[in-house]
Structure formats: C-alpha cells, structure tokens
Symmetry: D3
Subunit: 264 residues, 6 copies
C-alpha cells in the first residue's frame, strides 16, 4: 500500500493494527552516458512499491536525493551532505513512530547511502524508537548477479542497466553501452583502488572517464526482469521476517551480567 495515495481515514486500520513501513531511498547522480541520473531512485522506488504491495505493508514516498558527492564532477549529479542527509532521514523516520511504526526497512539502491542509513538505524534503535534495517537490493541476490554478468560493476554496470531496461526502458541509451564500457572500467581488477591496504580514491572520476564500471553490453531487459523479480521476492520475505519478529528480539539487548550497580 502506497502511503501517499491514501487518505488519512484509509490508513486508520493500518495504523491500528500494523507497525511496519518501507522507505525507498536512492540518489540522483550520474550513471554513465547510457543511464539516467534517476537510476538509483527509480530502482528503489519500484522495488519498494512492488514488495510492499505484495506483502500488504505501507510504502512511503521516495527520498530522491542522497549522499553522492563522489559523482559531483559529472553534470547534474545532485547530493546532500552526510549530516543533513542523516538528520533528514532520522527526522522522517522518528516521526513515523508517532503513528505506531516501530520497524522500518530502508529500501536503498545507492551504495553511498548505506553507512548513513545504518547510522540512522542505530540512533533509532539505541533510543528505543524503532528498529530500522538498511536493505540494498543487489546484496539480496549476489549469486544471481554473479551468474548473469561476467563484469557486473558496482556503479552503472550491467546489473543497474538491466534493471532500468526493465523498469524504464525509454530512459536507456543502448547506443551508448559501448562508450560506457570503453571509457569506463570493465574489470575492477584493472584499476588501483587500494594502495597497501588503503582505499585511495574518493571520487568516481578518479577511476573512470565515463563515470561507470563493468560491461554494460551484457545487459538485457530480460535479465532486468529476472533481477527485479528475484530482488522483490527477497524483499517480500524480509518484510515478512521482520513482521514476524517480536519487538523485544529486535531492540537492543541488556547489559551483560553482572548488571551495573547490582552489587551495591
């Protein structure tokens, strides 16, 4: 159920009986010469809506702009600085608890958001407000991703390309696949991203001229559909798992024994 399409009386039953919400988050950032800047927020939104509908839980509107300073050198990349992003998402999530929401899934399609969503999740959990999970779609189907593509690329690669071919084919420039690949990095092992154990790069432009990684020519809408179905299915199962947990089992455990001050 998509929250924003409802009227407030429509939501009365849900608020009374349920306690879970799905919040899609993405980015608006360059994805090479072949994919739209919307790529990440489109993926997050479509997966979140699909799974929420199947699982009959609430899905909120999408947070479209995320933490993407590392793509800023490419035209049009939008971003919010990390402290502002965290505080915005925390405030939005904390206020959901006013309606009885105490478990949240951040459906995320942008790697740059992960650590910030985990940090927000900790704030909410350590304060006893809610239990929030960060879920990144491709992390739920690693084997399928590996099976489908030889060089899947962590950004703008064939897995994201295939997804957009399936979700929003009109936004994909297939004629640019070769340029994306040839001016990018096909195989991550080709580039020096770690020097003596330290990740030395900060920006995508440090490594790739086209802005992307992997072999885009390997993508097809059919593979996109496979990815979409498999990831949606994982998300539905995660929602059901989360709904089945007692709240106690989700929130922070107490201090180990002996308890502080117990002997005084």
């Amino acid at each position: 159920m998509y929250l924003a399409d409802q009227t407030w009386p429509d939501l009365g039953e849900y608020v009374a009986n349920e306690s879970l919400a799905v919040v899609p988050l993405g980015s608006t950032e360059q994805h090479g010469p072949h994919l739209p800047l919307a790529t990440d927020h489109l993926i997050a939104e479509h997966l979140a809506r699909e799974a929420a509908d199947r699982a009959e839980v609430l899905c909120t509107p999408t947070v479209n702009v995320g933490v993407s300073p590392h793509h800023r050198q490419f035209h049009g990349t939008m971003w919010v600085d990390p402290p502002a992003f965290r505080d915005y998402v925390e405030s939005l999530s904390r206020n959901l608890s006013y309606h009885g929401i105490d478990r949240i899934i951040f459906v995320n399609a942008h790697g740059g958001n992960i650590v910030h969503l985990r940090e927000v999740g900790r704030r909410l959990r350590d304060d006893g407000v809610a239990y929030a999970l960060e879920w990144m779609w491709n992390d739920s189907i690693p084997d399928l991703v590996d099976d489908l593509f030889e060089h899947n690329g962590p950004h703008g690669g064939p897995k994201e390309t295939a997804m957009i071919q399936y979700i929003a084919p009109e936004l994909v420039h297939e004629a640019e696949f070769e340029r994306a690949r040839d001016e990018g990095v096909v195989d991550l092992t080709e580039i020096e991203m770690v020097v003596h154990g330290s990740r030395t790069f900060y920006d995508a432009i440090d490594n790739t001229e086209s802005g992307v990684l992997g072999d885009q020519t390997d993508a097809t809408p059919e593979k996109g559909e496979q990815l979409f179905e498999a990831a949606s299915d994982q998300l539905v199962q995660l929602i059901e798992w989360l709904n089945d947990q007692p709240l106690d089992a989700l929130m922070a455990k107490p201090h180990v024994d002996p308890q502080p001050g117990s002997g005084r």
Copy 2:
C-alpha cells in the same frame, strides 16, 4: 527538461549555457477524507515539470516530505523537523551551484514550507551562492482562485481538490466531499483562530475534525484544469523573468553610503 531522466552527457550543453533550476517541494500529509496524502507534492511536481518543459529549463526531482507537524494527529502524516528540512534543502541547493546553477525556483505547494524556503533562500543569497525564490502556486493566481470558489479554504479545500481531480483523478474520493466539508470548516470566519491579535492554534486538529477547510463540493476537474493552466503559465513567466535578470540585480545590494571605514 527533467534532470533525473537525463544522462550526464545530455546535460553538458545546459550546464555550459544555463544557470537556472526549478526544485519542486511538497508534503506528505493528510488532506481530508477525500484527497490523498500526496496532494501537495503531486501539485508541486506536476506544475514544476510542466513549466520547466515549456520554458526549457531544468527541473529536479521532488522533495516529497516537508514540514507538516501541524497535521500529525491524522493517520499517516509524515514530516521532517524544521532544522533538518532547512539543512537538507540548503545542502541540495548549495550543491547545485557546483554545476553553475545560481538561480533557483522552489516550486512549493505546501504552506508549512514557505518560511523555511525563504530562510534557505536568504542563506544562499547572503553567502553569494545563488538567488532562490519561493513560489507557491495559488499565490500566483489569487483572483482566479477567488473567482472560482466561494470558500476556497487554505488546506484541502476546493482549490486543491480541483487540482487533484485534474492531475490525478483516480486518487480523489468524490463520495467524501460532503463529509470533508461537514466535519471541517467551510468558512474560516466561523472559527476563532486569532485571539486579541495572536494566532492561538498550532495544529490543524485544533480547528477541524476532517482535517480540511473550505467547501470541497465546489470542486470540478474543469476548474482544476483552469487552475493548472493559469498557474503553469505564471510559473513559465516567472522562470523567464528570472532568467532575464542580471545576477547583480538579484544578489544583495551593497551597504549604503558612506561605506564602512571609508573615512578612515
């Protein structure tokens, strides 16, 4: 031109030659028993995209959740606290300037965002980063709004109802128009909102049981279309006006004479 649909190379020409962006912002909050919670962000998004396309300027994705604590007692209302909202919008706007954007129109459809967008606008202007305008659609066509409706209501009234009837008719519950009206406040003069000059209410629920104001039965899709066309037209003209101003004329004027320290 909708930024998020473009690839980064698509935007090269714009970035090189243009300097204006339109940013839609709304809310996700109760709009009575007849309208979806999406009402404000739908209106902002549709007007912004339409006018940006006509005027051939860049439109960003929408900020869907705004400052709506005053509607929180009604199911499903989402909100972000003012400092987090301001910082998020400021960061997003400030970072647009990295691509040469120095004039921004915040296309807004939620009254509760106005003062915060003005404050963000001041920060950007006083720092010399950009000149940003807050534009609220109904403020651009006050006479038409008055002509079309007897009791237009500042929230969830016939003007917003008509707009959604035109933009997203499938989300409107016409069967609930009478309830919206009868459990709300038709005529604002009926209620005591100001006591001896002081606005005493903080929340919508302080005044209205249905969450809305005005007479919703007065709304039609045709009136919605009129509003949409008229407001889009105003926004196109505003974009053109803003594009025509020299930057100097927009940014802060210098200190009056005698200049500080000039006599030393």
Copy 3:
C-alpha cells in the same frame, strides 16, 4: 510585575501560584531617518510592561536584538542569525519552565521575528514544556490602524512613528518625516514586491532608499497614545484569556482514533 526589579524572595508567591510570563522581544534596526534604531524593542518593552502591570503578571527583560538581516545595509542595524536567535529564545523560555511557567506570551514588535517565535513556540508545545504565543501589537488592532492612517506602512510608517512619538518623543526627528516619506515608499501598491506570485525581494533596500514605507507625516503623539492604549488593552485581555485556559486545552491534542497500535 517586572521580574528584573524583584528580589528572589519577592517572587515566591508568584512562582507558587502563577504560571504565566510575558517576554518582550524587538529588534535594533534602521527605522528611517526619523526614528531610532530602538523603535521595535521600545514598543515591545513598553507594551509588555504596561499590560503585565495591569494584569498583574510577570514581565521579563527585553530581548533587544532580533532577526534583522534584511535591514543590514543601513548603518547600525544589528541582527542575530535565525538559528542563533531561535536557540537563544528557546533556551530562555525552556528555562523559565523550571520556575513553573507553562504559558508564555512573546510580546513582539518586529515582523522579522514572527516565524521564529512561532517555531520556538512549537518546539516548546510539542515537547510538552509550555504553551507560547507570539503576539504582534499591530495585529491586535488592525481596524484602528487602518482608521488612523491612510498609508500605514509595514516598517517605519506612521503607526510606528506615532507610537514612538508617544513613548519616547525625544527620539523622534519630526523634521525628517518628509524625507522619510519622499525617499521611501508611500503606497505599497507602487512597488513590485511580488512577481508572478513570488516574493522577489529579500532586503528593505531593494525597495526603499530611506529604509521605510508609508506616510510618516500622518503621525501624531495623540494617535500614538490611542494605539498604545488600544494595544495594551488587547494584550491585557490576551493575558487574561490565556490565564483562564486549562493547560490541557492549550497543549497538543492526541492522535485521532483509532489510536496507533490499538488494534494489535
């Protein structure tokens, strides 16, 4: 009763029995060539003290410097940035609650403070700390203001001029009234302050050379006395109204039915 003139034992009875405080706030900013920079804080202070004395409630010292960046181009205008202003007033108000104050009237005479005082008021109310009202003197007597002056001007106009003529006549430069008017804006309809529905100006200097608006030559001390008496009277009534409300009726209402989680 003026708090700062009392010793702490003098206040014991008040603290035990009462729960209301009046806090005057103004600005220190240019008010044209004819009025002192103190104009706003003088008005706020005099009205607050007068009404508090008549109503036998506590009045605190005045916050003399407010949010006035829009007047900064004129010599001597002082201001505090909005986040610092809000936090200062919030802290001051929150700490009053330590003495049992749970209802506050911000007696305000500066338009630029309004939205910030409302925001502080919401913080206090939503946290359950206190119920605070923003009261702007001229908003309490709109008809009288309209009756007395043809062009009353929202800043440095005849209504503020008359007030200072009555409160602090020695600070008024009557010889400058004509200059104030002629280098300012008599009739607001003359100037373009809103373009296609958007307020385009940020600073007073964008519109007026003298810094002020309205026709100052229309002011007299007698009119000032009328304004002062009428506004004081309104404030006394507001104090009495506020004192008469049960705290429950002032603080935030609960979530509508069904209550979150009630069905679980």
Copy 4:
C-alpha cells in the same frame, strides 16, 4: 553614543570613521533578598553607556539574560544554556563587523559570562573578523574594592550592593541587608568550596541559603559612586587604549619561523 537612540543617517559619520563598539552584557538572576534580579545587567548597562558617552564611541543595547544556571534554584533566575549564549553573542558581534566594527569591548557584570565571552572573542579573532575584549568591571579596580569592603563577596556582596544603591537606589531593600548576610556567607574562607584542589560546587545554593556572599551591611551609596566613577574611568581608558592600537597589533600573530612549508 547609544546606538539604539540614533537613526541610521545619524550613524553615517561613525560608520565611516570609527571601528569600535561597546556591548553591555549581564544576567537576570537572584542577588539575594536585598538586590533585584537586574543587578548585573543594570551595572553593565550603566557603566557601558557612561564610558561610551565620555569616550565618544558607540554603545549597543544590553544583552540582559546570560549564563546563570548556577542560580536557578532561586525564584525567577533566568538563563540561557552556554552554547546558545555563545552563538547569540557571536552572531550579534560578527554581524557588527558588517558596519566596519573590528574591535569590541564586552562590558560584562556577570562572572558566569566571562569564559563564554572569551570563547566568542577567540572565534572572532582567529577568524580575522574582529578583536573583542571581555571586561568585568570589578577586575579593573581590585584595590579600591579591597579598600572599601572587608568582605566584598563575589556575588551579591557589598560591592554590587553599593553599585545598585548608587545606580538604582529604589530597587535596593536595605532592610534585608542583615538577612542577606546572616543567611549567606560573609567570609569565603568559612566554606569548603575546594576539596583537595577541586572545585566541588556547581550551584550557589550549595553554599548559601540567601543566595549571596560577603557583608552587605558594609555598602553605602557613596561607596557605590566611588566604584562607579573609578570603573567608568578605567573603561574610558580601555576604550582609548583599544582605539589607539593598530589592528595588526591586536589580531593573531603569524606562525613562528620557520614558516610551514617554507623549506619545500
């Protein structure tokens, strides 16, 4: 010259030629059963105005509420938390620099403000904005204070009592002098304020029942006048000294030799 009494054109010459402002700051806090809560801000304001007039420099309005949580247990004490106080004063001071003010004297009469004003001063100086001095009146005339009173008391003692007897005699309750002394602490050596080198108390109430220290019966208006004249005189001299310094001599010195990077 008192800034707030001027019109903006009145200040043109000052702004063009001068660069110093005096900012009075105090507190609104309990000063025993015999002195008003205004004590500190009255003293700061009177000294600042007097000295600024004599030295022909600009004096701003007074910041009336300071950092006084340590007096909060006594009725009516107002306070602002340190971060909010520092940010308010910093913002106010930083914005004065817009008018060419690059040297500021914080005329302070409340011990609890000292460290915060020093911290604000450092922020301004290290940023190259202005050079600000904290000046506490009694620190300028330590010998006179010692000569006039046997037990001068750091808070609400005879030195502050005498000052208020001179400045605002109508606010002094002479009949309460004995109670102030007898329920307070006459001689600081009587009380244990430091345990093994550590200051163990946080609040005035930890040490004194009347809220004050010293022997109040030793105060007279004549002594108050002596103090006032002597302190004003010191402040005038400080203003002149500060005005005479080249800005270079006031602002931060460069890094010692060899300069960082000089050998590269």
Copy 5:
C-alpha cells in the same frame, strides 16, 4: 618521529620541509575474555609509531576511544557517538594543516571507525584542506591473514590475539582462549548475520556471548610478529607512496567538460 616527544624547536625542520602526519586511532572496547579493552588502540599505536619511525615522518598521539556502541553491553566498553567522534577527529586534523600538514594517514585498528574516518577525509579533501587516508592494518595484508589462520574472525579473533601476544604479551590471558572460542563464534558462516540481503544485527552481543569471533587458540606470538612486520612494512610503503604524490594528484579533480557556465 613521535610528535609528542619533541619540543617545538625540534619540529622546525619538519614543519618547514615536510607535509605528512600519521594519526593512530583505535578503540577501548571489549575484546573477549582473553584480550584487553586496549587491543585496538595498542595495535594502532604500535604500528603507527613503528612505521613513522622507519619512514621518518611525524606520528601524533593516539585517539584511544572510538565509535564502539556495538560493544557496549560488555563491561567497560567506552565509546563516543559518531557525530562527536567525527568532529573531534576533523578538528584535530584540520588544525594540523596550520603547520603545513596536507596529507594524513589515519592508522586505524577498529572497524567501527572506518566509515567515520572516510567521512572526515572527504570533508578535508572537498574543502581543499588536506588529503587524508584511512588505513586499517589487516586490510593491507589479507593474504597473510588468511594463510596464518583458518578462522581469523573480524573481532577479537586470532589475528588480533596474535598481535597483542607480540606487542603486549602480559595483557593476554591464554587460559581464556578456549572460552573465547567456545562461547563465541568460530565460523562466521554459522550465524545468520544477513537476512535476505539485509544486515540485521547491530550489536556484537546479538551474535556472540564471549564478545568475539574466530578461533583464538590458533594465535601465537610468532604469528603476531609476522603480522606486525608485514603490516608495518605496508604502512611504510604507503607513507612513501603518499609522500611521493604531487598534491594535485591527491586533491579533487575539476568538473568535467564542458565547465559550468563556460558557454555563457
């Protein structure tokens, strides 16, 4: 060269000619029943000092307490909340640049600090202040770690155990190795840490009773020495690599062509 052992004149030559500093950071948190809470900061400090000495660069004192809320249920774990940790490290690093330091290596031995140090690094780099690298010792020698231990465990496992056996053998409780292993998790594949692609645990205690992971009985001081030597060597090479880079090559690249505004 250890900064804190030097006098300021001792550092003159370094400040003039060099621009690199090594900053060790760790944590003070439970490491099972067999290792001291100091484990991470000891490792960071010893590696940083050793490598800095060999490479003849500056090493600062250690930041001993890091971001460890996930270990808080175990006695004695200390931690600092992420915003405070980031701001502390940022301030410390930013201020190093006052002495000409424009490249920093954060020598880190605590996984929970990584993302925060990367975020600080971005702040410094995007502001043009300095280029900072996060270096985690075991990430520099992954093959050796894998070769030495069958179950190396990400926390309190044999690799950390061996390191402390070498660095500070007197702090290791060998008699507790078996308990550490048996009440912990030997093989990470045994536990469900990821549910349908989402990391569901927040705290160590969610997975392990002893607080640790891996097989501690596999650790020996000799292996510790091997790890120490190999990691030190990597760090020396990283320092040399970093020192050899031109600053330009380290700092952020410019916006891609066409440059913003270039066509105007």
Copy 6:
C-alpha cells in the same frame, strides 16, 4: 585499575559494585624549547594511573589532545576546537554511565581545558547523569608549589619541568633551560597581560618568545618527585572523598521553597 588493560570479565565485579571513574586529559602543545609537547598529557596520565591504583578505582585511557589554540603558533601544537572537545568528552563520559559510573574525576593537566570540563560537568549533573569534577594537579598543592619555586610560571615553568624530570627524564632538554627562561618571561609581573582590568592577550606568543613562563633552571627531579607524591596523595584523598559522598549530596539541589506551582 587501568580500564584498558582489563578484559571485560575482569571488570564485572567493579561494574557491579563501584561507580567511580578517573579520566585523564591533557594537551599536546608546545612547552618551550626544553619540554616535550606531551608534557600535559604525560602528567595527567601518570597522576591518574598512580592515584587510581592506590585508591583501587578505575582509570580510563587518556584524552591526549585538548583545547590549545593559544599555543598554535609554535611548531607541532595540536588542538581541538572547544565545541568538538566538549562534545567528545561529554559523549565519552555520558556513555560511561551505561556501566553504572555516576561520579567522574577529570584529572587534568592543561589550564585550557578547565572551563570546558566544568561545562561538561554541568551538563552531566544538570541532566542527572553523573557528577563530574575537574581536578588540576597544581591547584591541589598550591603551597608546596610556592615553596619549591620562586617563579613557578603557569606554563612550561619549573613546576611542569620538575614533573617531567621525574616522570620522563629522557624527554627533558636541560641544556635549554636557560634559553627557555631568557626568551620567555620569568616574572609575570613584568608583562602587561591585563589592561585596565581586561585580559588583552589571546595567545602565548603575545607574551613569550620561547613559549614559556617562569624560571626553568629552578627545577630538579627531586622537586618533581615531591610534587608528584603530594599531588597523587591529594588525588587519592579526593577519590576517597568522592566515593564517600551519597549521590544525593552530589547532585543538584531542588528549587527553594515555595516550590513552583505549589500554591495552585
């Protein structure tokens, strides 16, 4: 007992039965040509460990970098800005309370930290979290310091010199004692630090070329030992005193009578 040397099970008994922790804090800043930058944190650490061991209480690791912007012009001085320092120490202290610690002694050896530690202490106490004391070693033995040295100097003088001669003699450059003295300030009365009651200097370099004050040639290791023993002894007594106080006696007293609202 040094916390960081323990395993978590080792601390079970302490956590159950005790409630006090000692936290050493210093600085890393220039101490003249004869003493290491570590001076302050070495002193704090050695005293804290010694006294905690004798008194059988818990000592945490040391915070090595403090608030030292006033020494920044001298090579190598490290510092953290005050807000970041306060928040770091507050977070660290607040989180100790998770283990039942409700009384803390900040063992401090740097004057520049004092006011910030007092402010952190107030935050903790006013929130009811813990009672924290700031203890500066030389303030506990003022008479001994005066007896041992003619010109003890508040920074880098003979008292600190003697302490380091005793604690870490290998770091003392005795050959530089004369330079320290001759290029510094032997007798504080020689320099103008206060002008008409106002402290005019911000940085050490404003007064001293060598960075230090006092007569360093007066220091000996034997005097250092005397100081160390005497100060340790004071600290042990302070720990015992603090442990003996009921928590009630340490935390904030209630509001004086009549209680707020008691008469309603």
